[in-house]
């Protein structure tokens, strides 16, 4: 790891002043679970690290399922899981957080960090740039080992998958993200926060180098049913191959409204309006849930080695719908 300057400001105003005008100047240190590894591998080489953990207003969970929730960006994954109301009222979020299977990572990692972490694409992690290219600019992923890469939204230059475990659940819940920066406060729908970069110097989210995610706002969800279903290879210490998060508003067994978001299938969390359209107005059954799963992958295109993920995504959507309809508990 290169040497750097370190500051631990106590207000968000100080923090954004300490951040740079370009991405190479400074990085935000929260849980650090991924950032320090990226720095050790010289993938990210900031000249200054701004530790935001001493900024008290960035912590804490407030509100209820009736009023809506405000989750501070510094809330750890474990704090989410330990929150008394979360398990009952926000099942999809809790199940997504449980998928982060290492207690140490859950103790250290924050919700803001989960949303802003960099892709796990092994070409990026091995120093071939965000888009995984040779020095000549030739892309490495299409003909390389792309078994974990995108099956949806993969017609552009970015073929990695968004690594966030929590974003699909939060987007299904229609969450918004509050951002503070040199130009003041702004709020963005989390669904619009993620972007697929077209060049290697861009980021995968709508943040400027001197901006900070400060909190996540989850609207009232008291009457909705939700669930997240994750497919992964190993029980512990593994990344999802595919996840699906669903939030259903139901009358009896009939779906009145649905939001269905897939994770780890595209360069951004992937909202499937096709799956939503397939289930709305229907009673939840094996057959209708399966039809929604099928609709979710209608436009999927496999790369050379990741065709299996289309089947996983289909099944994840089906099982998430069935799980949510049961009340979100397995």
């Amino acid at each position: 790891m290169n040497a750097f300057e370190y500051a631990s400001p106590t207000t968000k105003e100080q923090a954004v002043k300490l951040l740079g005008n370009s991405w190479t100047e400074a990085e935000v240190l929260a849980g650090g679970t991924d950032l320090l590894s990226l720095m050790k591998d010289h993938i990210v080489e900031p000249k200054r690290l701004v530790n935001i953990k001493s900024i008290k207003e960035l912590g804490g969970i407030a509100g209820t399922a009736k009023s809506g929730l405000r989750i501070g960006a510094l809330v750890t994954i474990q704090e989410l899981l330990d929150h008394p109301r979360m398990r009952k009222e926000y099942a999809a979020l809790v199940q997504a957080a449980e998928g982060i299977s290492s207690p140490q990572i859950r103790n250290m990692g924050t919700i803001g960090g989960d949303l802003c972490q960099r892709p796990r694409c092994w070409y990026y992690r091995a120093g071939f740039g965000l888009l995984g290219t040779q020095e000549s600019g030739e892309p490495l992923v299409p003909n390389g080992d792309n078994r974990y890469h995108a099956i949806l939204g993969n017609s552009g230059a970015a073929l990695f998958v968004n690594p966030s475990s929590l974003a699909p659940a939060l987007i299904a819940m229609n969450a918004r993200v509050k951002i503070y920066g040199a130009k003041g406060q702004r709020e963005v729908a989390l669904e619009k926060f993620f972007t697929a970069p077209t060049t290697g110097s861009q980021r995968e989210y709508d943040l400027q180098p001197n901006e900070l995610v400060t909190e996540i706002i989850v609207p009232p969800l008291a009457r909705a049913k939700s669930a997240t279903y994750e497919v992964r290879q190993k029980e512990a210490l593994d990344w999802p191959l595919t996840t699906a998060s669903v939030v259903l508003t139901m009358t009896g067994n009939t779906v009145k409204a649905a939001r269905i978001v897939l994770g780890h299938v595209a360069p951004t969390p992937w909202r499937s309006t096709e799956a939503e359209a397939a289930i709305v107005g229907k009673a939840v059954s094996e057959a209708t849930a399966e039809a929604a799963g099928k609709a979710a992958v209608e436009k999927a295109k496999a790369l050379s080695k990741n065709g299996y993920k289309i089947q996983l995504a289909k099944v994840a959507v089906k099982r998430a719908i069935l799980l949510a309809a049961k009340g979100g508990t397995r």
Binding site: L18, T33, L36, P103, Q104, I105, N107, M108
Partner: protein, 212 residues
């Protein structure tokens, strides 16, 4: 080999492997310690540390210790290289394997992925704190009784992960134990022994014995 035999061996040679390695290292140049500089941000003073060495104070196993390190030095490196507290092991150094697990501020963390400078002001507990004189901590004894280690490299981290787990959940079910230890890897495959050790330590705790 008994502990006594071990000790006499070390006395005979007069130098441990570790002190030999340390003494044989060659110091390159004089370390520069500059402390910090203060910059004004919105009328308030903010301290900037590094990139050269700065003085930090860590509270390790109840004792305050001051070291001079660069901000890039991890908690694990500060303890192992600067303070000779070598129980926690550096294995993957990427927040994955768990061999470096310490309890910081009451929570199990990967110390390879915490900067020493950010660990100031929080109690840091390492595996060294568990033994009382020559007596093993009940959890350590449970590892011995249940064959919870083989090569031993993952063991100190595993013991601390188990300690943090039992502190939070003193009467776990076998399923909870399995999930609760998901952050540590053992390439020898001692998981069954480790899980049995945790359940034994939990039972001893229930029996009224001190768990530490």
């Amino acid at each position: 080999m008994s502990d006594e035999k071990n000790k006499s061996d070390q006395q005979k040679s007069g130098v441990s492997r570790r002190s030999f390695l340390k003494a044989s290292g060659i110091s390159l140049g004089v370390p520069l310690v500059v402390g910090h500089r203060v910059i004004n941000v919105n009328g308030q003073e903010v301290k900037l540390y590094g990139p050269t060495k700065t003085s930090i104070t860590l509270t390790i196993n109840g004792a305050k210790q001051t070291v001079e390190v660069e901000p890039r030095v991890t908690l694990l490196e500060a303890l192992r290289h600067e303070l000779d507290i070598t129980g926690a092991k550096r294995v993957c150094d990427r927040a994955t394997c768990g061999a470096c697990t310490m309890i910081v501020g009451g929570k199990a963390v990967y110390s390879c992925t915490v900067l020493a400078i950010e660990a100031q002001g929080k109690p840091i507990t390492t595996v060294e704190s568990l033994m009382q004189g020559e007596k093993l901590h009940p959890l350590q004894q449970a590892f011995v009784d249940n064959d919870g280690q083989q090569c031993g490299y993952c063991t100190p981290g595993f013991v601390m992960a188990c300690k943090a787990f039992l502190d939070k959940n003193p009467s776990p079910t076998p399923e909870e134990v399995q999930k609760g230890l998901g952050g540590n890897l053992c390439r020898c495959g001692t998981y069954m022994g480790v899980r049995a050790a945790v359940l034994q330590a939990a039972t001893m705790h229930k029996g009224g014995k001190n768990h530490g």
